[in-house]
Amino acid sequence: MIRDFGLQEFWFLITATRWTLVLTIAASILGGILGLIVALARVSVFPWLRATAAAYITVVQGIPALILLFLSYYGLSKAGYDLSPIVAASISLSIYASGYLGDIWRGAIQSVPLQQWEASTSLALTRGQQYRHIILPQSIRIALPPTVGFLVQLVKNTSVVSIVGVVELARSGQLINNATFQPFRVFIVVATIYFAICYPLSVASKHFEVKFNAYRAS
């Protein structure tokens, strides 16, 4: 029997949205930690560490999120870890996020004027203290708009993990479509839910950008 797209189906999509949010949050936390390590390595005083981080960023940004997903999904199972799809998906999205966040934050760290480094060195601050008290507080302000903007990309890219069987928003839309045969209506609703998550983030990103530019101009 072909079902109609009703309230029950709509509710199914809404409940599946929580997995989209779980994946986004997991990937932004784990990817954020990894990304910070990559960013710090990218501006390290050791040339080999800088080169390694640069290579990592190039590789992650040069491979589609889909292939990263397959690589971690099959690679981890080959290594003997039998992970559930949601864990494998979180790991691959974290790697994806770390490549982009690492690059964004590298730019933010490097855009702090060199004099700030020199001044804090002359005050005999250790490198850790320099980062903590001088460099990072300033770079966070610069990094905030592009970071929030990247979260939009992350939310959208969680849709590709539907292929390994995680029933998040895109996959649940497909399941509903298979039951109702009303593809246009179903996917417009799915797109609307994604939009409802992403648009506020986009607006926030733009807001931070304007605010930061106003700060700079004054």
Partner: protein, 240 residues
């Protein structure tokens, strides 16, 4: 721990290369069409009075805030319910073009907005036609300014083409899916496919940056004096 066997994947390399070739074709067409679409929308938007800019803004925001996969599904599964039949490749191309169109509209808009009003006024004072003004005073400097962002976006749309494998387009990811299910060497297959994407991304980036510096030239001003004057030893000293 790892027991990697690349031999079965190497054996099916021709199929993978065929997929790579389709990825290249899809990306090329989508970049040409998408960038043109973006340029046209950005142009129309910049010429329209502020009150009539909302259609372009809505297009940009709607596309930029929804996943490519859902856009692809709407086109591939949704259009047939309106009687429009599209093949998987056509749907993929259409989705990529519309997607890139929105992103490049935003990039071109930033470039066009960065051109100062006085530049256009100066061009009008020199009696340039509106078309000449747009081409030489607005377009070229605008595109030059946003070229790096544009190149990143082109690379991103090439990577995004992998999602077309969801609707059974046999591009690089689709070919890799087929091969891994036949050989059971999934990890090895995706390593090779990943390396191919990486190579393509690097070639695209380097090539487009080279093209950019060829088209726009280096960002140096021409000397104010004619070249012949520069040979005079006195002027040379004065210059240095």
């Amino acid at each position: 721990m790892f027991d990697l066997q690349f031999a079965p994947v190497i054996a099916s390399l021709p199929a993978l290369l065929q997929g790579l070739w389709l990825t290249v074709k899809l990306s090329f067409i989508a970049i040409v069409c998408g960038a043109s679409l973006g340029l046209i929308v950005a142009m129309l938007r910049s010429m329209a009075p502020p009150k009539l800019r909302w259609p372009a803004n809505i297009y940009v925001e709607l596309i930029r805030n929804t996943p490519f996969l859902v856009q692809l599904y709407i086109i591939f599964f949704g259009l047939p319910s309106f009687g429009v039949k599209v093949t998987a490749v056509e749907a993929g191309l259409l989705a990529m073009t519309i997607n890139l169109g929105a992103y490049s509209t935003e990039i071109f808009r930033a470039g066009i907005d960065s051109i100062h009003r006085s530049q256009i006024e100066a061009a009008q004072a020199l009696a340039l036609t509106p078309l000449q003004i747009f081409r030489h005073i607005v377009l070229k400097p605008a595109v030059q300014k946003v070229w790096p962002s544009l190149v990143s976006q082109f690379v991103l749309i090439m990577l995004t083409s992998s999602v077309c494998s969801f609707i059974s387009v046999e591009e690089l990811s689709g070919a890799a899916n087929t091969i891994q299910s036949a050989t059971f060497r999934s990890f090895e297959t995706y390593i090779i496919a990943g390396l191919m994407y990486l190579a393509l991304a690097i070639v695209l980036k380097v090539g487009l940056f080279a093209a950019g510096s060829y088209i726009f030239g280096r960002r140096t001003r021409k000397p104010l004096l004619p070249a012949s004057a520069m040979t005079s030893p006195i002027l040379k000293d004065a210059q240095s």
